[in-house]
Amino acid sequence: MALTFKDETFRDDFTFSNSPAAIRRFPFPFVEDKYMYSVNIEPHTTGPEGSVFEFPFDIDEHYVSEMRDRAMVLQEDPARCQALPHMMMAQWDMLELVMMSMARDYPDLFTLTRDGSKWHWVNRPLKIEQTFTFGDASTLPYEPMEYIGRQVQGDFSIQDQRDNQLWMDAGIITSQADWSLDFDVGMNFFEWHGPVPLAHEAGVFERALKFLLNLQISNPVRRLNWTMTINPRLDTSPENYHKWGKDRTTVTPENVGQKVHLRVEMQGLFRLPRSNAILFSIRGYLLSLDQLVTVPKWGRRLHRVLKTLPEELIGYKGLSRYRDTTIEWLSKYDDGAPTSRGGGPD
């Protein structure tokens, strides 16, 4: 599939939108008509051709514009990218995994040539060409995680494994759903999930941690997570909450379709071989409700899911101010017809 990269914005005039093909491949996360929290982890193996699961790191039509937005965020706030000193080996692990995958899966766009530790990387969409020595950070313009992080869609954190715990000791996070890397860096698995309601009581995180501690080399896994965002804004960080928080009060029955976006994160987890760390990729997809209801099943189902969402989650995901307006708007698209199982369009 030849990609045409869109020139669009995720701030100010918000020109972002999805092409019809991008709508069809949107990873709609709800497999049934009511909301259920689950760990829903599955192997991150090759998915259907053209789907967002086809490759470990999905590159789509928003690539170039998303990378431009990331550069702007890092320019304003360099603390969105941080690595504690003992994470250097894991940073190289990540760079290797991402470069190898991108060059293998998108040979028209990226090329990696390796001659021992002499590496040559070509990124055509971003017009980058770099020769460097693998393992020697002084041969790159940034540290390895930031270098490759500026060239791959999705946020990333890297977890060190010590004492049967995972410690979030590095990350590049510029489009997070309301959590602060600068605050959370150095925390363990339970701590950085601390603010998530309900799941701790259900023992979800204990089970997930045990699973991840044993995550195998070459056997990555993935899960979907979701929230909602007003305007197609990538940088919904707590750092800038005082600037974008007002957006949540701008939703009216007339503009729900353009303003309210379903935001889905495909989270991938990879064991990094040399460092024994775990790479966590958080690949976000945005879809306006206007575009979402072009798939009738999704319009029906989202209406039903939002109606059954527990109060704690409405607060945690920040939906309180516009949930009712959104449900009212969506009800026009729910004729009560049954929906098929699974998230895909009918």
């Binding site: 003992h86 994470m87 080996m89 060190d160 494994q161 010590r162 004492d163 045990k210 501690l213 044993n214 195998q216 080399i217 070459s218 056997n219 071989p273 040399r274 460092s275 024994n276």
Partner: protein, 321 residues
């Protein structure tokens, strides 16, 4: 999700490195590159001996960055061995084919440590081989204290001394030399971590010595090469399927389930990783917990069992499977 994907390898080299220890070099069957790994990792080797299927964990010893081959060392457990190590010594030679799992690390060096003290006894040297390789490449401060019965029984003594010089200390039991652990641990700077691998009594001794010298539990780490201890036969009942399966005296529950085609989760098969944890519905008498994973409270509760290692003396146990 039981175990991991397996890879076929061929034995490229076998060397007798000490009286009862052989080193095996394994290459991918198609000479494809193997995964890199981290210091302290092991693989599981799947062995087909007659109609028996065995999977034993062995530590990777080579350089973590060498993707052309893996190296393991196996101690022949001689009369004690009714299983895999004897098979490796007697039936595996250059050209033999085996299946292995991807590397798994349950014994990594702590990346925040300012210094690493490695304490090895006998075959317990193996995980430290790759660990030292890694620490050396990262310019980390470490020292090895390695106790062997004699120079003939001890693997890699000369090699290690020539490679790492004064950082390696070998103690020969037949010459009355003992690891002076108290003085070693007594003079370390803050932020030092100790790692011990060897026979169980040695591990217990090292952990206790560290504790008595005021070392916090967070700074000491151990790995024990345990295999499931034998016992008497008993019966496993599966609550969900209603099946009943007999576990023989020299079998673990996990092995018995596998033999009967029941797919149960596992990874390390040594009671360390926690993957095979299984709920207990009911049980005749006490569970003999042989793992290193469950907490004391969990053991006492009798509600959980690690089926790769633990068993019951007799009678039957009903599992949530």
């Amino acid at each position: 999700m039981s175990g991991s994907l397996l890879r076929r390898v061929r034995v490229a080299e076998v060397e007798q490195v000490a009286n009862r220890i052989k080193r095996f070099r394994l290459v991918d069957i198609d000479n494809a590159p193997l995964s890199e790994f981290s210091g302290g990792s092991h693989i599981s080797v799947v062995m087909h001996s007659g109609d028996r299927l065995m999977r034993n964990p062995y530590s990777l010893m080579g350089s973590p960055t060498d993707t052309s081959s893996y190296q393991i060392s196996v101690l022949n457990c001689g009369n004690d061995s009714r299983g895999g190590s004897k098979f490796m010594h007697d039936a595996v030679s250059v050209g033999s084919e085996l299946e292995i799992s991807e590397p798994l690390n349950l014994f990594p060096p702590c990346k925040l440590a300012r210094k690493h003290i490695l304490v090895a006894g006998g075959i317990g040297i193996t995980p430290f081989m790759s660990m030292m390789n890694e620490l050396d490449a990262l310019h980390c401060d470490f020292e090895l204290h390695y106790g062997v019965r004699s120079l003939e029984e001890g693997a890699y003594c000369k090699y290690l001394q020539s490679r790492y010089g004064s950082r390696v200390n070998v103690y020969l039991q037949d010459q009355g030399q003992m690891i002076p652990l108290e003085s070693v641990l007594g003079s370390q700077r803050l932020g030092t971590h100790m790692y011990v691998c060897g026979p169980k009594p040695m591990i217990d001794w090292a952990l206790q010595t560290a504790e008595l010298l005021g070392w916090p539990a967070e700074n000491v780490h151990s790995e024990q090469f345990s295999a499931p201890p034998p016992g008497k036969p008993f019966v496993v009942k599966l609550a969900k399927s209603g099946r009943e399966i007999e576990v023989r005296g020299h079998q673990s529950i996990l092995e018995a389930l596998e033999e009967h085609g029941v797919d149960a989760p596992f990874l390390c098969r040594g009671g360390a990783c926690g993957q095979c944890e299984t709920g207990v519905v009911s049980c005749d008498g006490f569970i003999e917990h042989n793992d290193h994973f469950l907490t004391e409270a969990e053991r006492v509760s009798g509600k959980k069992i690690m089926i790769c290692m633990s068993r019951i003396p007799s009678g039957s146990i009903t599992l949530d499977l």
